[in-house]
Amino acid sequence: MKRKEKVIKNVNMQVEIAGITLRNPIMPASGTFGYGEEYAPYLDLNSLGAIVTKGLSLNPKAGNNTPRVCETVGGMLNAIGLQNVGIEQFIYQKMPFLEQFDTPVIVNFFGNTQDEYGEVAARLDELPGVAGLEMNISCPNVKHGGIIFGTDPQAAFAAVASVRKRTSKPLIVKLTPNVTDIQVTARAAEEAGADAISLINTLTGMAVDVKTRRPRLANTIGGLSGPAIRPIAVRLVHQVVQAVKIPVIGIGGISRAMDALEFLIVGAKAVQVGTANFVDPNAMATIITELENFCLEEGIDDINDLIGTLEV
């Protein structure tokens, strides 16, 4: 990227994804930001590009036994088990709060069958306060021996296609990194009608308490997130950007503006911040400010000019 000579005072931080206008490319990652209200005391929700809510299912879901979280070097494992309030409670208890803000609300959702995905999408489609849907396909298909939708390109295609039929809202499909060839899943999602792709969800991992010889998580296996996964996430985003035409949202281990920039430079149009919210509830606000400062220093007056400028 060449450094421009001109001195600028304002940076356009606005980006557009699948028809959703974001005031900047920074938003929380699902499951790390609750339903927004948990972090409202610490952070102005109107400063974010979007709000992404905790994964939602048709019916309330209880989640796993504890322990559900454990720290690892530079990251953490979680097996929350997608505990959530279910769509009815979400509409009546969580949406009114979210609608107070002038920030697009993206609702992350999942199902355990293809039909369930479709049902949730149809309900969300009716809600004017929802700007877009993020479909989590890192879930087991209970009708097919529990194989994860996102690891089986055909199942992923079918699920995305069935959701596509039930909603006209912008549809972001969130990919699991636990596959051999991410480009295959990404193309399946695109062909099935996704408007955008987000990645990565957590990498499966495991930790053992050597004294008790038990797994550290009640669920044995959990999802790894945090700074430790960033290089893997950047690589996967890079590969997906090459494979599809629809916009890509980068996720994985972002704690600072420099981390977010890596994803933007490889071609992500926006990024999500997850585990870093736990470390610093103000992390996203800091990233937004630093990102703007970076652009000012580098003489970039539109953040879009930075996206996909990787030189290889």
């Binding site: 930001f33 610490y42 989640g63 504890t66 097996a79 929350i80 997608l82 879930c139 669920n219 610093d280």
Partner: protein
């Protein structure tokens, strides 16, 4: 609730392996309630990654560095060195940058502190009970049962005594105070004060034993629990405990960080309460569904 980028004021070893740290904490004496906690960032790097939860021992003011400045407001925490985060903490000095998120959680229900009160603490479990004792209207009708494995684990006795609260010390190895479990002392004290309300914090086996005793005697009990936490604000759902009436079909999970850490014992499921150390496990994917 706020995140303060702040500094350590002092950090002293009060018993082998136990430290008392004073941290600059604006507004805490006004905001913090007994039983609340903070999420403490031990240093401004990404190692260790997550914040550590610590109960607030007390709040206070100390004189400013010069006359024209307002007094400095602080909190104190007492911690036991057990792992990577607390190992870093024991090396911190005056002026070291740290971060405090809080005050968090529900705290004790102080409407229930009239009459006789018995506070039961094991080891580091004494920490949240001190502020509770400070807020009890009639300290002469309160007593604190201080338990631990050995002499080194007995902390804060003089602090409670200074409040005018009667103290009963017991150790498992008999190295100080009565020999035996703190729960044995509780049974004796409840003979004397059968209408007392009980407040307990400590290791899970102690909490369970206290709950059994209080249930059999029909005595009201509030407990402060520890669970593994990532966010401390109710966002990650990592810190849940099972609520009263929890079944697999009709699950009830309560966040320790927002609904707790203090619970009415009657609001929790005791028979199948899985704690961090005793949870069942089965194979599955990251979503927790059995394959």
């Amino acid at each position: 609730m706020k995140n303060h980028k702040t500094i350590v004021l002092s950090n002293q070893e009060i018993s082998p392996g136990y430290f008392r740290m004073r941290i600059l904490a604006p507004d805490y004496s006004r905001l913090a309630k007994p039983g609340q906690f903070v999420m403490f960032r031990v240093q401004r790097s990404l190692l260790p990654l997550l914040r550590r939860p610590f109960g607030i021992f007390r709040t206070g003011f100390m004189p400013a560095d010069c006359d024209t400045m307002p007094p400095k407001e602080f909190i104190e925490i007492i911690y036991k060195v057990v792992g990577s985060g607390t190992e870093i903490m024991q090396g911190l000095h005056y002026g070291d940058p740290v971060e405090l998120l809080g005050p968090l959680g529900s705290g004790f229900d102080l409407n229930l502190t009239s009459g006789d009160n018995i506070l039961v603490g094991g080891g580091i479990g004494l920490v949240p009970l001190y502020m509770l004792a400070e807020s009890i209207a009639d300290p002469s009708r309160a007593e604190v049962l201080i338990g631990g494995r050995s002499r080194d684990d007995i902390i804060t006795v003089t602090e409670f005594e200074r409040l005018g609260v009667k103290t009963f010390v017991s150790t498992e190895d008999g190295s100080i105070g009565d020999a035996g479990l703190v729960t044995k002392v509780l049974e004796q004290r409840l003979e004397q004060k059968p209408k007392a309300r009980v407040f307990a914090c400590g290791p899970m086996p102690m909490i369970r034993a206290v709950e059994k005793i209080c249930r059999s005697k029909g005595v009201a009990l509030q407990v402060s629990l520890e669970e593994l936490m990532a966010c401390g604000v109710g966002a990650c759902l990592g810190c849940v405990v099972k609520g009263e009436g929890h079944t697999t079909e009709r699950p009830s999970y309560l966040c320790t960080c927002t609904v707790g850490p203090v619970f009415n014992a009657s609001d929790l499921a005791w028979d199948n309460h899985d704690h961090a150390s005793g949870a069942v496990s089965y194979g599955g994917c990251e979503c927790g569904e059995k394959r």
